[in-house]
């Protein structure tokens, strides 16, 4: 695994990379690489056995420069510039939470560049009566030190070891605290208003994202209600079966990393992408 920085039109972007083969771009959420952890997590490592995982840190996160203007549109252009700068003409795409929203926006704009799309606990849609929970309110600790309500948004087991490892009570590791803050700040720029982590027009545009797609959600996701995954699943023309992971919350890939990674690998095998698989075969048989 390696961390490197790339220059994108004068801006610094942090990339975490692992594995060989077809390029798989991973866009992170709140409980994730770059947002809490400074490096790739077991979920990404498992994917890296089958592909070249490329996980950029969002603007302002983990060493990536902030954007002067950071609307969802600015962020899409930022990613197009990054993809161009790193020579990624075509790639598989996975996004979690806000990263899922960005992935969906990229897929509807440039369907020709995305081989296979996976959305995990993705926000981005307005689903009437199913609001995305207020992560900012819950990020304010209770009694000054208690982060349990934030953990309960992000994890099925708010007091379990994974939840407490990444969102501890009281003051945690300084670098991790700052990374969590930077991710909330990015979230505030891109998704606070208007509207709240969604883009009303996205739903009507999903017909354009006609690549094979896999939609995954923790059945106990209390941040992005599973109704959002169902809507993505219904609107994406080539969506495979909706993957509802039992016993998992919003950070389903942290809570059940092997299961989620294996499901994605299986999905990629079921939906061979000529371009991507040629690259994978070339690297594995070399």
């Amino acid at each position: 695994m390696s961390m490197r920085v790339v220059d994108v039109r004068g801006r610094t972007v942090t990339l975490a990379e692992a594995g060989n083969g077809a390029p798989l771009v991973y866009l992170h959420g709140f409980a994730d690489v770059h947002a809490v952890a400074g490096e790739l997590l077991p979920f990404h490592q498992r994917l890296a056995r089958h592909a070249k995982v490329i996980a950029p840190a969002h603007p302002g996160c983990n060493g990536t420069d902030e954007l002067d203007s950071c609307s969802i549109d600015d962020v899409i252009f930022h990613y197009l510039e990054l993809l161009d700068a790193t020579g990624l003409a075509r790639f598989d795409l996975i996004g979690h939470c806000v990263g899922g929203w960005i992935a969906a926006e990229l897929a509807v704009r440039h369907p020709e560049r995305v081989g296979r799309l996976t959305l995990i606990g993705a926000c981005g849609l307005f689903v009437p009566g199913e609001p995305i929970a207020d992560v900012f309110m819950h990020a304010q600790p209770e009694r000054g030190t208690d982060s349990s309500s934030l953990r309960s948004l992000l994890f099925a087991e708010p007091d379990g070891p994974v939840a407490k490892r990444w969102f501890p009570d009281g003051r945690g590791d300084l670098d991790e605290e700052v990374r969590r803050y930077q991710m909330l700040r990015f979230g505030s720029f891109v998704g606070f208003k208007p509207p709240y982590f969604y883009h009303r027009e996205l739903r009507e545009r999903l017909y354009r994202a006609a690549m094979p797609a896999l939609v995954i959600t923790g059945e106990r996701d209390r941040m992005v209600p599973p109704a959002h995954a169902r809507t993505y699943h219904d609107e994406l023309p080539e969506a495979a079966r909706l993957e509802l992971v039992h016993g998992a919350g919003h950070a389903v890939h942290l809570e059940q990393p092997d299961k989620v990674a294996d499901r994605i690998v299986e999905f990629h095998k079921q939906h061979r992408d000529e371009f991507a698989d040629a690259q994978f075969d070339a690297t594995t048989h070399a």
Binding site: C70, A139, Q140, P141, R143, G144, T145, L174, L184, F192
Partner: protein, 401 residues
């Protein structure tokens, strides 16, 4: 201007006094005449010789019942003759177009015959939530809005404003303010260096929004002075103000006995959600990520989340230490405030007299004692202090007269 009719067990039953505190607690019958009482107290301040009356803007809370300070200011223009009307301030990002604020402030300046002090604030955590105003991106918007208002007051209209956030073809507000070049502009800030730099760039005044005054207040003044100097400007005491609460009575013991109920009501109820660790603090923190990450890192290094806040005080001794709510005889209150002025060299004191559910009669008595027995000594002694500390300013004043 707190809501004074909360149930006695509010603190046990409700986890916050801000944003989500249920408005079914509003008692329309008990609240009849409440705004009249606020306005009367402020008019009384003018009558007994205070330099000005300070209003602020808050939404959806029991701490300050003034979503629109401009309405109260309008009433004061008709009830008062002399004192400044200080609005600290209109929350610019809550307005679709800051020109509306430029217009209302210009009206108030005319209606008061040039007595307006124009404050602008970006809104803090509570407004982030209750008006859905994102904390981080609105900072840039805020400074553009201030500059647009200042332009609208000083540059002949109509002109076009090619701003990023408020592009306008025809900026030409009628009326124009009475004061020239424009009413003094005040901007509240915590201790963010970025805010002080923006204030210094524009030559405006700084109001430190902290409620507690220890060494940090002096440090803020020194930082502001240093930043002003970096911008070719010079600190003078009139450029900065601080916030505190006071209660004055005939003796220390009497002051404590009379103030006690209002003070504890204010601390335990009104500060819950703001300056108390109990419940969820909504004024600062990771969910309101408006300060730059490097500043947040410094904040984390220099703070401990288990440290009690003002509203966590359990005893009068705790309160005395924070130098925030100063209660005592005229002598005591004079001495303690003079001590703060000596260390911080701040020229403007914004003093809250009505605390929580304090009865009107006691509030007025305290205001009167302050105006007659504390303020004259503070004025004289601080003038002497500042003449010693800032001899250039003193000389300039002598030459002007």
């Amino acid at each position: 201007m707190a809501y004074p009719h909360l149930p006695a067990d509010f603190d046990e039953r409700y986890d916050t006094g801000w944003v989500t505190v249920p408005n079914s607690l509003w008692d329309k019958d008990k609240s009849r005449g409440l705004y009249q009482q606020f306005i009367d107290q402020l008019a009384y301040a003018d009558e007994i010789g205070f330099d000005g009356m300070v209003l602020n803007e808050h939404h959806q809370n029991i701490y300050g019942l003034m979503p629109s300070p401009n309405l109260i200011a309008a009433a004061l223009t008709q009830r008062t003759k002399r004192g400044k009307i200080v609005i600290l301030g209109n929350l610019l990002p809550l307005h679709l177009n800051p020109l509306r604020v430029a217009e209302e402030y210009a009206m108030l300046d005319n209606m008061s015959d040039g007595r307006l002090i124009a404050g602008f604030a970006p809104g803090s955590g509570p407004e982030t939530f209750n008006y859905n105003v994102p904390s981080a991106p609105t900072r840039a918007q805020f400074w553009e809005a201030i500059d647009l208002v200042e332009r609208a007051w000083t540059e002949p209209g109509p002109f076009a404003h090619e701003g990023r956030h408020y592009p306008l073809r025809y900026v030409n507000p009628w009326p124009q303010p009475t004061q020239k070049p424009h009413p003094p502009i005040w901007i509240p800030g915590s201790r963010s260096r970025d805010t002080l730099v923006e204030i210094a760039k524009r030559g405006h005044c700084y109001f430190l929004s902290s409620r507690s005054h220890g060494k940090e207040t002096a440090r803020s003044q020194q930082l502001f002075a240093q930043i002003l100097q970096e911008h070719g400007d010079r600190y003078t005491p009139d450029r900065m103000g601080i916030l505190m609460s006071a209660y004055v009575a005939e003796t220390d013991a009497q002051a404590q006995a009379e103030a006690k109920e209002g003070v504890w009501y204010f601390l335990k109820n009104c500060l819950k959600g703001h300056l108390r660790r109990e419940g969820r603090q909504l004024t600062f923190g990771p969910g309101i990520p408006y300060i730059a990450p490097a500043e947040f890192r410094n904040f984390l290094k220099g703070s401990d989340p288990t440290t009690p806040l003002l509203g966590d005080a359990e005893t009068w001794d705790d309160l005395q230490e924070s130098a925030s709510i100063i209660v005592g005889s005229a002598d005591t209150v004079y001495r303690r405030i003079m001590d703060i002025l000596t260390h911080s060299k701040v020229g403007n004191l914004l003093i809250q007299f009505h605390l929580g559910n304090m009865p009107d009669a006691l509030t007025r008595k305290s205001m009167r004692l302050f105006a007659t027995e504390v303020a004259p000594r503070l004025r004289a002694d601080s003038a002497a202090l500042f003449d010693r500390e800032f001899p250039d300013t003193a000389r300039a004043r002598e030459m002007a007269t």
